[in-house]
């Protein structure tokens, strides 16, 4: 078992608090989760040093943290002036190779992710959702299922609210539904989710993780501390995830493995799924729950999300009627294939959450014809050739924005020359507004202007939400100009 700290045996989950030996804490990264963690720790009468690569002036929300007693230093000054911390809390945005992280490890100082800190602080059951794509939808859906059943639950994590930020106003036994990225899984130790969901694994974040093996190991961390009575919800249709699940089910004292699959049982021979889709029905834990026509979310990938969230909700004791109703009433998440408006017959779709190639390909599957695609942002060392190939099938035009423009152009050119695929017209637009306006001019009735950038947003925006909001405001402006 991974729990090497003393913990009261009666308490099944976390909430044991930060160890008494900890007096000084260094929080790396002053983003949303770093700020929240620093404020919580400062509220516990610990000496908290917060550091970030950026200047104090460019950081929003730092003032509030300073008022609660957090000391801010720039990351480069840490080399000379190490704060002698007993604990390092790392924001998800800080890479493993960052100098302070390496140094902390060299000194033998424990490095926690913000998730581990939250686990130490809250005794509540955690339901953690991870995977490459569909995390946000699944997390929001699971929260919605709990809400439908009238169970108190919070939706936290990557989805927008830092997990530690809810300290103080959280009730015991409230379910914490957490969207967890692989970065947050790098430094968890005792974190033991009551339900862990692993949706799929495709090459994403390879710039940070290096290899697929390490990426999978990160994700597998989620289940490392799970014990009998916990549930691991895993996708049997994804080979890497299925292999992990088969290994997990053989682990003595390990969690119950609940497989789900979009294919009917029998198509995969390695294991039997407990939840699946067959004959136009969704089956959860072996029983039909509702016909697929009752689900509003579009696309096959969303069926996986529904299966995962439904299985998890059942594992947490939500009754079947509530799950069926919740799956029926859930309409989707903002910035995820969200319709921003229709002007003169042209539909504007905001999929700002598509920050990787897989997600963009999924979006292109949802809108395969007459698409004006807006691509680009900060590159994540991805291979854009699949997008170029997919674009050749039904896109009218492609507009490139942000840092990745040249890389994208190269990928499109390579596909055009090497594979002889005549793709759509490609236009370097620079920023989002230029791109949307150019697309609006070119598009005819029935076309779709799709923002599915396949890249991170950090070159021009703070996060993908801001990018999505910007897209929405541009579309609103266009609507006003048109009328």
């Amino acid at each position: 078992m991974a729990g090497n700290r003393d913990r009261p045996p009666a308490l099944g989950y976390g909430g044991v608090g930060v160890p008494d030996t900890v007096h000084r804490v260094l929080v790396l990264g002053a983003s949303r989760s770093g700020l929240a963690a620093a404020q919580v720790l400062a509220g516990m009468d610990l000496q908290v040093t917060l550091s970030d690569r950026r200047d104090a002036e460019s950081l929003a929300g730092l003032e509030a943290a300073r008022r609660s007693g957090v000391q801010f230093v720039r990351e480069d000054t840490l080399a000379e002036d190490w704060p002698q911390a007993d604990l390092v809390v790392k924001s998800p945005g800080v890479p493993e190779e960052a100098a302070p992280v390496v140094r902390a490890r060299a000194f033998g100082v424990p490095v926690w992710s913000e998730l581990e800190l939250a686990y130490a602080l809250f005794p509540n059951p955690f339901d953690a959702v991870t995977g490459t794509n569909g995390k946000t939808t699944t997390t929001a859906l699971l929260g919605h299922l709990f809400a439908t059943a009238g169970r108190p639950a919070r939706v936290l994590g990557n989805i927008g609210v830092a997990v530690t930020s809810v300290a103080g106003d959280i009730r015991p036994h409230e379910e914490l539904v957490v969207e967890v990225s692989s970065f947050q899984l790098e430094d968890i130790h005792a974190f033991r989710p009551a339900v862990g969901i692993f949706l799929n694994l495709t090459p994403d974040h390879l710039d940070r993780h290096g290899s697929m093996e390490r990426y999978l190991a990160c994700k597998a961390n989620l289940f490392a501390s799970q014990r009998a009575g916990d549930v691991a919800v895993l996708n049997l249709a994804d080979p890497a995830v299925a292999a992990l699940g088969i290994e997990l089910s053989g682990r003595p004292g390990g969690p119950r493995v609940a497989f789900f699959s979009v294919d009917a049982p029998g198509t995969v021979l390695t294991a039997t799924p407990g939840s699946w889709v067959d004959a136009g029905w969704m089956f959860l834990e072996g029983e039909p729950i509702l016909p697929l026509s009752g689900i509003q979310l579009p696309g096959r990938h969303n069926l996986e999300n529904c299966l995962a969230a439904g299985t998890a909700a059942l594992a947490r004791g939500v009754d079947r009627e509530a799950v069926a109703e919740g799956l029926h009433t859930f309409a989707g998440v903002a910035h995820r294939l969200e319709k921003a408006g229709t002007i003169a017959g042209v539909t504007y779709v905001n999929d700002s959450k598509a920050t990787n190639v897989e997600a963009t390909l999924t979006a292109l599957k949802a809108y395969p014809e007459g698409t004006h695609l807006i691509l680009g942002g900060r590159d994540k060392a991805s291979d854009y050739r699949p997008v170029a190939r997919a674009c050749a099938r039904g896109c009218r035009a492609v507009y490139l924005i942000g840092e990745a423009t040249s890389l994208m152009e190269a990928a499109f050119a390579e596909v055009r020359e090497r594979e002889g695929v005549r793709g759509p017209e490609i236009q370097a637009a620079g920023d989002l507004e230029t791109a949307v306006r150019a697309a609006a001019k070119a598009a005819g009735a029935g076309d779709v202007v799709l923002l599915a950038p396949a890249c991170a947003s950090f070159d021009q925006y703070r996060n993908f939400e801001e990018r999505g909001e910007h897209f929405r405001t541009i579309v609103e402006q266009l609507a006003r100009e048109a009328s």
């Binding site: 609940a258 497989f259 009917a264 067959d278 004959a279 029905w281 697929l292 026509s293």
Partner: protein, 428 residues
């Protein structure tokens, strides 16, 4: 006629539209929609068999007048039972079978308990060598009949539950296998070997459908067969009774009395029978003429034709159940349909096999036909269950071919509309 296009004469493929349901791939199809003929076949065959049974009751009732009985004694009773059973059938078709999961376990426990109660002296009534009945006012309750239903219901629930996903032997055998075997043992202790055989057969069938691994299933089945043989050969009286079917004429006044009388009856029937009501064997020659041996009287009065028709009806019933089970996408529904189909078919095979001397005479009623209140009600409930599942269960649609060609042009089409295979304009 069209002189300009003479060289363009080609056979247009005649497209026979195969009724493709105009639904998306996400459409939820109910079992009844994809297998409507099977759905109707289930209740039609059951009803025809029930009517045939009532006719036979009318015929054998007359035989009791010799002993000073009422000439409608069986048909009146059976008619009332049939009415009650049909009401139960209709009620069960209205029940959502998915809500039966909790009920099935309670039902199994109650039946197991009442099988124990049967063995308490004073609480039960014995008849024909076995004490299987519990008197309840004017009625009698036969737990072993309901045990069959309990095995099907509980098996369908337990073998489709999440705990079975690992598929290990222990989760199949506990609690389902062990409780089922226990019930089997209690029925054997009642002295009702036939019903015990049926329950054991259902148990094995449900385990098979539940996806038990072949080797494990063979081990259970083998243990069952060895146990049954050991039980049979442990007493010479049992052994001679069981084995008498091999040579019915060896002891026609003793162990094989029933069988030889039954064969006499069938022999009198010939091809077309002696006519309705014309049976002689029912007049005290053939014991149990109204219950277990009714098929012999049927053979006597309606001949090979009538007896064969009954077999055909049972065959159609089994076929319809099989079709429904095959198409059912819900594991619990599939197990229940298959179990109910097996119950009727297995009992028909054992009964008809026994009466005709093909199998040892086991003493089980012929479904829908034999006199027996508990048996008939249970059989009609089973039919009700099948219909209830077919109405609600999600179904695998029949794989639809987009179009079929009424002529052989599709062969030509592979060769580019009549030209030689692979013909294309020559290279320049």
């Amino acid at each position: 006629m069209n002189s300009s296009g003479a060289h363009e004469v080609r056979t247009e493929p005649k497209r026979r539209q195969v009724s493709a349901p105009e639904r998306g791939p996400n459409a939820a199809v109910r079992l009844r929609d994809v297998a409507l003929p099977s759905y109707h076949l289930v209740w039609v065959t059951a009803l025809l068999l029930l009517i045939a049974g009532l006719c036979m009751m009318l015929s054998v009732s007359v035989a009791t007048t010799v002993a000073g009985g009422d000439k409608f004694v069986y048909v009146r009773q059976q008619g009332v039972t049939a009415a009650v059973g049909l009401v139960a059938l209709l009620l069960f078709t209205r029940v959502d079978y998915r809500k039966m999961r909790a009920f099935s376990v309670i039902f199994l426990a109650l039946v197991a308990l009442s099988l124990v109660v049967v063995h308490i002296p004073g609480a039960s009534r014995s008849e024909g060598g076995s004490s299987s009945w519990i008197p309840l006012g004017p009625l009698t309750f036969q737990p072993s009949e309901f045990a069959k239903l309990a095995v099907i219901l509980a098996g369908a629930h337990l073998l489709s539950s999440p705990r079975l996903r690992k598929g290990d032997f222990a989760s199949y055998m506990w609690p389902f296998g062990v409780v089922g075997l226990g019930m089997c043992g209690l029925v054997i202790l009642e002295g009702d070997l036939g019903t015990a055989v049926i329950i054991a057969g259902l148990l094995l069938g449900v385990l098979w459908i539940g996806g038990m691994r072949g080797s494990q299933w063979l081990a259970v089945a083998g243990a069952g067969v060895v146990g049954a043989l050991a039980f049979t050969f442990s007493s010479s009286e049992r052994m001679s009774r069981v084995l008498s079917f091999l040579n019915p004429s060896a002891d026609p006044q003793g162990t094989s009395f029933q069988l030889s009388q039954s064969l006499v009856a069938m022999g009198r029937g010939g091809w077309f029978g002696v006519g309705p009501g014309g049976s002689v064997q029912k007049f005290q020659y053939l014991p149990q003429a109204h219950t277990d041996m009714i098929y012999a009287i049927l053979g006597e009065e309606f001949g090979l034709l009538g007896a064969g028709l009954v077999i055909v009806l049972f065959g159609l019933f089994a076929l319809a159940c099989w079709q429904l089970a095959r198409r059912c996408a819900d594991p619990m529904g599939r197990h229940m349909i298959a179990g109910c189909g097996m119950l009727v078919t297995l009992q028909a095979v054992v009964n008809i096999g026994g009466v005709t001397g093909a199998l040892p005479l086991a003493g089980v009623p012929l479904p829908f036909i034999s006199y027996g209140r508990n048996s008939l009600v249970v059989m009609l409930i089973a039919v009700g269950l099948v219909l209830a599942i077919a109405k609600r269960a999600p179904a695998r649609p029949v794989p639809v071919q987009a179009e079929r060609y009424g002529n052989v042009t599709h062969i030509d089409r592979r060769r580019r509309d009549g030209r030689a295979r692979g013909a294309r304009p020559g290279t320049r």
